[in-house]
């Protein structure tokens, strides 16, 4: 096999791990963020303050630190040792949870802004028409909120694509790890610099696709104001 084919093969494996972490984080953080945003808007003040405290801590500390704590610290305290399965699957699970918690806190603030930006008259109009709170949220508020949050969400999601590389700190074998391996020595090659640069192209293309996607969604929601 040529060097190129070998490198691309290895990078693809790394990119797949990147893509998995990206997808799992979104699947978890998009709904969890909504729950957290409701907590931060709760009329029950202890819940509101608790939520705001959690969001402050998670947004106020590095994701890298959160990953290290998530992966290494439980093992020191739990009687059975580390709760994570051995090998790559354990690292992936720990990364997923840390990423979901971290990103849901950012998303929750975006949602809150989106919900609070909708005129209160929309809610009242639903109320006087005899709609339930649930109906008002799903039939009236939700789509208006989605339209408002698309630009900040696309920003955050594009950042997530690149942030997945931070999971390398607990040795998750994602894209940059795969590229860097050829510098250190792997697959019988060492001292190869170009695979590392090549990983950048993966990120660029993937984020290009996402940018096109969000542009499409924005156009789809252009029919109302």
């Amino acid at each position: 096999m040529t060097v190129f084919a070998t490198v691309i093969g290895a990078l693809n494996v790394g990119f797949l791990q990147t893509l998995k972490l990206f997808a799992v984080t979104l699947l978890g953080a998009i709904p969890l963020g909504l729950v957290i945003s409701f907590g931060s808007m709760s009329r029950f003040s202890p819940l509101r303050y608790l939520t705001k405290l959690v969001v402050w801590v998670i947004r106020g500390t590095p994701l890298m630190l959160q990953l290290i704590i998530m992966f290494y610290i439980p093992g020191y305290f739990l009687p059975g040792g580390s709760p994570w399965p051995g090998g790559e699957s354990g690292r992936f699970l720990a990364s997923s949870i840390a990423f979901i918690i971290n990103y849901s806190c950012y998303f929750s603030e975006i949602y809150r802004g989106g919900i609070q930006g909708i005129p209160v008259g929309q809610q009242e109009a639903g109320q006087v028409l005899g709609m339930t709170k649930r109906q008002i949220f799903f039939k009236v508020t939700l789509l208006q909120m989605i339209k408002r949050i698309i630009p900040p969400m696309s920003n955050e999601i594009i950042t997530l694509v690149k942030d997945t590389s931070i999971a390398r700190i607990i040795a998750l074998q994602e894209l940059i790890w795969a590229g860097y391996a050829f510098l250190k020595g792997s697959h019988g090659y060492s001292g190869l610099i170009w695979p590392l640069f090549f990983t950048g192209i993966y990120y660029l293309i993937f984020n290009g696709v996402l940018t096109l996607f969000f542009g499409w969604v924005e156009r789809k929601l252009d029919y109302f104001r």
């Binding site: 009242e124 109009a125 109320q127 005899g130 339930t132 208006q144 029919y223 109302f224 104001r225």
Partner: protein
């Protein structure tokens, strides 16, 4: 028996007293106009009737049934209030149409949700009724337009159709023309006038004195959260008894 009986309503926000001892009644098929300067409590009163605000004192009864009694928590259960709201319709100053729905969808949404819950009407029947209402508002050709594609006057007429779709006992208007350019108020007032001719029971908070006098069967003048004067429109607006009413109306005469 009056269709609406409001007794001793009081409302304060913190230390600010907004409504004091408001009592009035309304007969079926009649139109009541509420006039008064900004901050006199007119809008708060309408919001109390629609259960958007909770009065601190007093009772609200429709068709003899006490819907709200500040002294009786049993009348204030959240799930029940939702049903009670359906006795009233409310047309807002700022229309508050749902921007992501067409004019027709705005009119039919709530009724379709109710039908889904309770059974009864088919979707087709509701759509047909919605189109008929829009036609009645002179908007038959605007059914598939989104709110942002409509003028303010057209939006407000859609909002009136939306409120009528649920067939409320009493239709409330909160300054329905105040957010409109002057040249667009006429089309909305004409629609309300036609509703009055059909003997729709209505409460209209308005700054349009001539309109209030022509359309209403009864006028209430409010100032500082109390009813200062109430009675026949020609009497209240043309020959007010109270000094405060006279002063308020003099401002309008100057304009």
């Amino acid at each position: 028996m009056s269709i609406l009986e409001v007794q001793h309503i009081e409302k304060h926000f913190g230390a600010t007293q907004v409504l004091t001892d408001i009592s009035f009644s309304l007969e079926k098929g009649q139109a009541l106009s509420i006039i008064g300067s900004s901050g006199s409590g007119k809008t708060t009163l309408l919001r109390c009737l629609n259960f958007l605000e909770k009065p601190n004192r007093g009772t609200i009864a429709v068709n003899g049934e006490v819907l709200f009694d500040a002294a009786d928590p049993a009348t204030q259960i959240e799930g029940e209030i939702r049903k009670k709201r359906l006795h009233f319709g409310l047309v807002f100053q700022n229309f508050n149409l749902f921007p992501q729905y067409t004019a027709l969808q705005n009119v039919t949404l709530a009724r379709e949700l109710l039908a889904k819950e309770r059974g009864g009407e088919t979707r087709e029947a509701i759509q047909e009724a919605g189109r008929a209402l829009l036609a009645q508002m002179g908007l038959a050709d605007r059914a598939d337009h989104y709110p942002h594609q409509l003028s303010g006057g057209q939006q407000q007429r859609v909002a009136i159709a939306r409120a009528l779709a649920l067939q409320p006992d009493i239709l409330c208007f909160d300054e329905p023309t105040s957010a409109l350019d002057p040249e667009l108020t006429g089309e909305v007032l004409r629609v309300i006038r036609s509703l009055a001719e059909k003997r729709t029971t209505m409460i209209i908070v308005t700054h349009e004195m001539a309109f209030a006098r022509d359309v209403a069967d009864q006028v209430i003048f409010m100032d500082g959260g109390v009813i200062v004067e109430q009675g026949d429109p020609r009497q209240v607006i043309d020959h007010p008894r109270e000094e405060r009413t006279r002063r308020f109306l003099a401002h309008y005469a100057e304009k």
